[in-house]
Amino acid sequence: MKMESIVPPLPATTPVAAPRKAVRRARRRWTPARIGLYVFLLGAALFFLLPLYVMIVTSLKSMDEIRQGGIFALPHAPTLAPWRLAWSGVCTGAACDGVRTGFWNSVAITVPSTILTILLGAVNGYALSFWRPRGANLLFGILLAGAFVPVQVMIYPLVRVMALAGIFGSLPAIVLVHLVFGMPVMTLLFRNYYCNVPHELFQAARIDGGGFWRIFLQVMLPMSLPVVVVAAIMQVTGVWNDYILGLVFAGRDNMPMMVQLNNVINTTTGVRQYNVNMAATILTALVPLALYFVSGRWFVRGIAAGAVKG
């Protein structure tokens, strides 16, 4: 048997009329719309990158060069002197040994706050999504609402309480304050994460005899690495970049880098040293920026997970 003929024979001449109104679609790459899009994108990129460029460039110039040249010019004789001065020489209110004290203070504040807030956020999220005790959702609602409210509404009573407890201006005070104000977002992150864990997993663990803490420590926490990473990035960034809480609660001994930075730049008398200022700004912004550039995708994941649902 022969194979069935697949293609019925075409008629000898098939009329191919000229395209009617059929627009000859410009399939080639450079349509006006596409060029416009590229131009807009490039323009926006310039706007966003300009401050970074100026910041870096200014920090590498001498003050003479700054006075003579324009703000956009590249440094003729780049120097790291402003950086050294910013790190260990500028006057930050009390002392004149640079922003490095602020750096270590910020580290001392950030590490414990991050660890504690993540732990509490994880426990909260775990309890909220699997155990759901009575009234917990109401409390969570208050917590979330509080995250949107300006901190000025809560700040003075907190100051009074800290003063009465005698810990105002100490390291535990500032860590505690960051705990209070970091809890809503951390709890939200973990709750959303655990809500996506199949409930059957939890039920199987209970049937296996697990109690509250055992299931948390041995089942849920080990599977939480992705959300812990995201939470850590968000909390470190948030605490490091904080100004107002550090200003009010940290006290002179624990002054975080961000508060120091503002002091350096905005409260000095005499001639403004723009190059040192910019170097100090870069040094201060370095930790969260580096974190961002290294972990960009996790950063975005954090925004989507926390901000969108909230």
Binding site: N124, F148, V153, F212, Y243, I244, I265
Partner: protein, 295 residues
């Protein structure tokens, strides 16, 4: 049985910190602030109840009224600019994903890195950029534009606008990231159907995509609006509220009166007034969300 009882109690004890924070740290503190706003407290809280007198004084205060005016101007400009820029950037990047343009990840990095910088750092950098004489102002003249001046940051009328520029620079990337996530959730077959219907791209966005993105837009609006109410760090870093009080904002008014001008009662009244619009925005949002979850 002991184990059974323990299992029922443990979640409650585990949530004790959250309960304390919510009840005392937020609710309790807010109520206390409200109480203080009804008293004549100066440096320290006093029990001297004076009703709504602080609120009257507040609205007679020229500095407070200016701060409200500034916040309104700032708020409108900031929210509009962020929405427009964020949305356009998201659209451009999403379109390019369809045309497979390379470098999409690079562009996302460029637009989102400002969000990793603090408000203080942002304010300081832009303060330098907008310094009359040495900043962009001088740079333009060096490029040859001799008649152009850009000294908004020291002008009475436009100082707050410079804060708009700086904070829009910082936050548009976030709006872009959120809008992009929303755009990615749109079924690509809707685009095909629209192409087949002969609908031009701008109309697809205007009449089909944007209405579909309403939940995302609502979230973005809420985030932006609350950021407006909280505006403090950027102003302190950039203009210190100046020149004079030209760029004063409510949050700064409150902080100054709490800690510098020793008028805790007045400041607390200001805080409660600032709270009202935030709650007014939160309530419908939370209500809509809870209805959606129930459905």
């Amino acid at each position: 049985m002991a184990t059974l009882r323990l299992t029922r109690v443990t979640p409650y004890t585990a949530l004790l910190p959250m309960a304390l924070v919510a009840a005392l740290g937020y609710l309790g503190a807010g109520l206390w602030t409200f109480y203080i706003s009804l008293t004549g407290s100066r440096t320290f809280p006093s029990g001297h109840f004076i009703g709504l007198a602080q609120y009257h004084r507040l609205f007679d205060n020229e500095r407070w009224m200016l701060s409200l005016h500034n916040l309104a101007v700032y708020g409108v400009l900031f929210v509009l600019a962020c929405l427009v820029i964020g949305f356009l950037l998201a659209v451009v990047i999403d379109q390019n994903a369809m045309w497979k343009m390379r470098g999409e990840g690079v562009f996302r990095t460029i637009f989102l890195y400002p969000y990793a910088m603090s408000f203080v750092a942002t304010g300081l950098v832009w303060q330098w950029l907008l310094t009359p004489g040495d900043g962009i102002d001088g740079g333009l003249r060096a490029l040859g534009f001799h008649d152009l001046r850009f000294d908004w940051i020291v002008s009475q009328d436009f100082a707050i606008h410079t804060v708009v520029i700086a904070t829009v620079w910082q936050m548009s990337g976030l709006v872009m990231a959120l809008m992009l996530a929303g755009l990615r959730g749109v079924d690509p077959e809707i685009w095909k159907a629209a192409r087949l219907d002969g609908i031009p791209a701008w109309r697809v966005y205007a009449q089909i995509i944007l209405p579909m993105l309403w939940p995302t837009i609502a979230t973005v609006l809420l985030l932006l609006a609350t950021a407006v109410a909280k505006l403090y760090d950027a102003v302190v870093a950039m203009t210190q509220g100046g020149p004079g009080i030209a760029s004063e904002v409510p949050a700064k008014f409150i902080m100054d009166h709490l800690f510098l001008r020793s008028n805790v009662g007045l400041a607390s009244a200001g805080a409660i007034v600032l709270l009202v619009p935030v709650l007014a925005l939160l309530a419908p949002y939370a209500y809509a969300r809870s209805r959606k979850e129930a459905a």
